[in-house]
Symmetry: C2
Subunit: 347 residues, 2 copies
Amino acid sequence: MAEKATINDIARLTGLSKGTVDRVLHNRGEVSKKSYDKVMDVIRELGYEPNLYASLLARGEQRTIVLLFPAHEKGSYWELASAGEVKAQSALKPLSIVTRQINYNQYSADSFREACSIVLEMHPDGVVIAPMFQYETQVFAKELTSRSIPYALVDTKLDMPGYLAFYGIPAYKSGYLCAYMLSEGESLKEALIVRIMRDKDRQSDPTVMRRAGFMDYMLEHNPGCTIRSLFIDPSDPAATDDALDAFFQEFPHVRHIVMFNSRIHLIVPYLERHPRVRRVVGFDNLSANLAALRRGTVSALIAQHPEEQVFQAIQTLADKIVFQRQPDLTDNYMHMDVLLRYNTEDY
Amino acid sequence: MAEKATINDIARLTGLSKGTVDRVLHNRGEVSKKSYDKVMDVIRELGYEPNLYASLLARGEQRTIVLLFPAHEKGSYWELASAGEVKAQSALKPLSIVTRQINYNQYSADSFREACSIVLEMHPDGVVIAPMFQYETQVFAKELTSRSIPYALVDTKLDMPGYLAFYGIPAYKSGYLCAYMLSEGESLKEALIVRIMRDKDRQSDPTVMRRAGFMDYMLEHNPGCTIRSLFIDPSDPAATDDALDAFFQEFPHVRHIVMFNSRIHLIVPYLERHPRVRRVVGFDNLSANLAALRRGTVSALIAQHPEEQVFQAIQTLADKIVFQRQPDLTDNYMHMDVLLRYNTEDY
DNA sequence: AACGCCTCCGTGCCCGGGCACGAAAAATTT
DNA sequence: AAATTTTTCGTGCCCGGGCACGGAGGCGTT
């Protein structure tokens, strides 16, 4: 009973033909206002939903969603994120949707611009952007909008009107939480923030917001704490070691370290050779980070499930592309997980 | 290019008609051996795969997945789990799959058996079981298998051959983690486990495994710690208060409390009236638990995302039912999240 | 009045496969 | 050899929607 309504039912009930109903359904124009309204009324009344199979069968073509990500090596944050693409691929195969990834150099706006034009040439049906450059991304987004290609943002939410959805964690709060984990149960006198040299150049960076959240927590709960910074070069382990050595020579009493990017693992070798700190808190479940967590060198990690973010973003786009479904929320702040020594294994 | 072969291509190449090809494809008989072989040869040669959309469209029926869950009230653990059903429902609507939930009394094997027969009468295409009774579930599972109805398990993994997939967290490890969070950074002399009276009767219970993991951690890291138990009645808040009162009269130095079920919130009112403990650790993100966490009464919660478990289980079944797709993994241990005061908001 | 041009709409075929029905071919029976 | 049964097969319509094409009707122009 209660058979699902079809396009023919609507045609019959409105006294129009299915061609017209179809035009209404796809906003393809060439329909008078009167007919349009009549069709819409009946659609609402019947709660009509198109039959996915019939639709897919009739259309038959393949849709493409392109991911615009920073280039990444093995074991990096963006590789984690790419796991979400794989997961989405298998879920979307039955919908004849394929995904492709285009990469850019996260330290070069030029390379980003170049990647953007490659994406456009592919005539994608949807784009997932992990943005790094505010201005360039805005330009690109405008271009996508003008071609009415929907796009979603992951990781960093730039000021950008017109995106279909954003998936990421609340950066400020994650910094706040980070400070709580670093200091909970003790009263800190000193703490160290380790930063990546090149990151200073970037125009946009969630680590900035994290730092702000961190600072605010400390101000509220450990106002007497002195917070120092140290810059390291990710491509030069020896120099990193030296820098840390020099730092601890000067400030031997520091026992608490944080990093707001995903690369806490860079300082792990040093810490394991010179065990002196009490708590080390970092971000993201890179395998190198997890290993350090299991060994106890790192006390806690805040994980943001990049693969989930990407998966969801792709799903949302697919929903939009295939079913013209608008997502309920545009800004989806996902949960931050706290990883401790004994809950890392199932990652 | 490399268009996918259709049933018509095969018909053409074999010189037979698509009716015959169809009979071969479905082993529906009424085909001579010669024709059968010819068709099979061409199928293999072309690597023919039927178009699922066309097939589903032509067949057109609705599939049903039934969830067999304990009955639950507002704000309970199984209500959280049911959120996964809602999520799955909207995702599966386009695949013409509906879900229905059948509930049983989690303290009565009889009611479980009854619920099982109701499920069977519904002629489901797949079943998700949240099992409580080892033996009865095995009987039911055997029945499902004999009718070749696939089923998935969530929450508790019983010893049960033939299930399509299991989704849950590793219970033993979660207890281990729980102990770590309760004691990390201090050396405990005493701790209290609060338990639910009726739970003693149940034949199977992840809380048993959790307790084991907890005990082992304590044995390894706090061997001198005395661990006491207290049973409370969930339906009688006044008695709970009294029990706690009596307990602390007798053991005034206990400062650490755990509960291995989802109902840590039951002791929160008492704790807030008599603030005396240092750390309180519980399970699951029930809203009452989260509220207590935010107020600081509860120190940490281990959350297992029941809604995700259920969602995934349903998805896996749907994949099997619609696309005959076998899942990669049968045992899916999901991540346990640690919830602290400052990462609860996005739940 | 004849013509052209829009706007709006209906018709009909297609997508790939499922399946009922009936006909042709082969095998048996008389 | 004719009649009957059984086996094997082809035809044609259906599922629900997408979409190209062309036609009807309204409007304005010459």
